[in-house]
């Protein structure tokens, strides 16, 4: 493909590709540009600032509001906790599914799919009742735990693919050399599947950071994450500039995560069917 001479046909094709991709980029970028402009605009009628004028008022309001600035800490706390729990429990599970055959293993996959695609709105009511009994409402721990319901299946799926790409001889040699399973996992397997852990963390972060339904039902009075802090801003006179400024702030950690895994994603990974 790449070695073929640059004929007019090939040139026309790559020109089409560039134009098409730029159109896609524009489609994706436009609402972000709108967000960026609005977040630096005073969108409410205020005594000291002319409405629709450039202003830093929205960012000052975020800093001045404990609910808004605190929500950033809450979000980071629950997402980090969720990613750590998910990867810690998914790693041994993925290893088991990749290396062993056992009674009932065929049904695990069905179970995982079912949990991954169960809509949060189906579970909201009982999760709220259950979590209020054990004191997990209004705390980042509750959200971190409940998000495991969709993140653990995805994590097992991705990690299993990465582990299966590692030849089994490596395990066997290590065991002959006297490694225990945990020793082997930490010293030999983990370094090899580090990109897989990165990709998994990216997907877990992505699904957890932006989730709204569980986050709402589990934070009634406190511990509100960014999504819920934004929800409190919607009202009769919504300060859309403030909403957009908050969205912009919420994108920064996401952008950082994308930046860290960009090469792993670009280098490619296989998800086995």
């Amino acid at each position: 493909m790449m070695v073929s001479p640059a004929t007019t046909g090939a040139k026309a094709k790559s020109a089409f590709a560039v134009v098409f991709l730029i159109l896609v980029a524009l489609f994706i970028a436009m609402p972000f540009v709108q967000m960026l402009v609005l977040s630096f605009t005073s969108t409410l009628h205020r005594d000291d600032i002319v409405q629709w004028q450039y202003s830093l008022i929205n960012f000052r309001n975020i800093l001045g509001s404990p609910v808004l600035s605190g929500s950033i800490v809450n979000s980071i706390a629950y997402v980090t906790l969720n990613v750590v729990i998910t990867i810690l429990v998914a790693l041994p599970a993925a290893y088991a599914l990749s290396r062993y055959r056992f009674t009932g293993d065929k049904h695990i996959f069905l179970l995982l799919i079912a949990f991954r695609i169960t809509p949060p709105v189906v579970l909201t009511l009982p999760v709220f009742i259950l979590f209020s009994k054990v004191g997990l409402v209004n705390s980042p721990v509750g959200i971190a735990l409940v998000h495991c319901v969709f993140n653990i299946p995805i994590a097992i799926w991705i990690l299993e693919s990465f582990i299966s790409a590692v030849p089994k001889e490596l395990d066997e040699t290590a065991f002959i050399d006297g490694y225990s399973l945990p020793q082997f996992a930490v010293r030999q397997l983990l370094p090899l599947i580090a990109p897989g852990v990165g990709v998994t963390a990216f997907f877990c972060f992505m699904f957890s950071w932006v989730e709204v339904v569980f986050a709402r039902i589990l934070t009634v009075t406190g511990g509100k994450p960014i999504t819920m802090a934004i929800n409190t801003l919607y009202g009769f006179r919504t300060d859309i500039g403030l909403v957009m400024a908050m969205t912009l702030v919420s994108l920064i950690p996401g952008l950082a995560v994308i930046y860290f895994v960009r090469n792993h994603i670009a280098k490619g990974f296989i998800v086995r069917s």
Partner: protein, 297 residues
């Protein structure tokens, strides 16, 4: 997943490795489902005072016109979303260069909408399309196009599909691209030597490599669009005239009204739909696996 039967050691002790993951899932998944299954047979005033009603809620929901209509709308929405996003995602992934800064920037830009809180995705689009200060709204007005997503149901649908595509196309592209970039150039060279047409390269080299991720993309996109909630609710709250009222919006309404019994029954019905989809998905994967393993022999 787990096609390499002959390579795996038989050991039931492996269950212990699964125990932590299954323990967490039991607590946050199975236990709530059992609770709700129990509730679905009661008329609940408070959680202490409740009356056995048997299958009344189920009969009521399943025989209601509204349930059937919402189900049809959700299915239609998923069908539209999938028929746009899966081919478009594959197409973009194929067009992306295999290296370079432009490729990385494109991938990052495509991933960005995935990081936007779901409750501000609609706000961004509504602001964008607002005709006083939105760039999109101003452009449409300049072109003389009347886009009224509040009162014109077709326009609400267009907005929801465009918004969902904007939000999720990156996921499909990233999954497809990631598997495409594992194809060794040798395959393409071999195909070129054989004089393979572009379509044949796609059909016999690229598509088989993408099967796993495509399945994942298909499943995730189907269920998330089928049960779309936050985005649809924020745009038009199911309107105009309930014409964008999807399955999950009906459920959200009952939960908000503290109708525990009917909400529980509805949740169980939705979960059964989910199970059916998961089962169908697994069956298709199994058929695919047995075909590829036969092909390999």
């Amino acid at each position: 997943m787990a096609a390499n039967d002959h390579l795996r050691t038989k050991s039931n002790a492996a269950w212990w490795l699964l125990a932590p993951a299954l323990g967490v899932l039991a607590f946050v998944g199975v236990l709530p489902l059992l609770t709700i299954f129990n509730y679905s047979f009661f008329d609940i005033f408070t959680l202490e005072t409740r009356f056995w009603v048997g299958t009344e809620w189920y009969r009521e929901i399943l025989s209601s016109q509204r349930f059937v209509e919402s189900l049809a709308r959700s299915l239609l929405f998923s069908a539209i979303v999938l028929s746009i996003q899966i081919p478009l995602g594959i197409f973009i992934a194929l067009l992306l260069p295999r290296q370079g800064r432009f490729r990385t920037l494109m991938l990052m830009l495509l991933a960005l909408p995935l990081m936007v809180p779901w409750n501000t995705v609609p706000s961004m689009w509504v602001s964008f399309l607002g005709n006083s200060n939105g760039f999109g709204g101003q452009t449409l007005a300049f072109l003389g196009l009347d886009f009224d997503y509040k009162f014109n149901a077709v326009h609400t649908w267009i907005l929801l599909v465009a918004m969902d595509t904007w939000h999720w196309i990156g996921l499909v592209v990233i999954l497809c691209y990631s598997s495409l970039s594992t194809i060794s150039p040798a395959y393409y060279q071999a195909a070129a030597i054989d004089g393979a047409k572009r379509l044949q390269v796609f059909r016999f080299v690229e598509l088989p490599k993408m099967t796993g991720v495509l399945m994942m993309a298909l499943l995730l996109r189907f269920m998330d669009s089928f049960m779309i909630y936050t985005e649809a609710f924020r745009v038009n709250a199911g309107g105009p005239n309930h014409l964008t009222s999807f399955l999950s919006l009906d459920l959200g309404e009952e939960i908000a009204a503290y109708d525990y019994g009917p909400a529980a029954a509805r949740s169980i019905i939705y979960f059964l739909i989910v199970l059916l989809v998961a089962w169908a998905f697994k069956t298709i994967m199994n058929i695919h696996q047995s075909q590829t393993s036969r092909g390999a022999q």
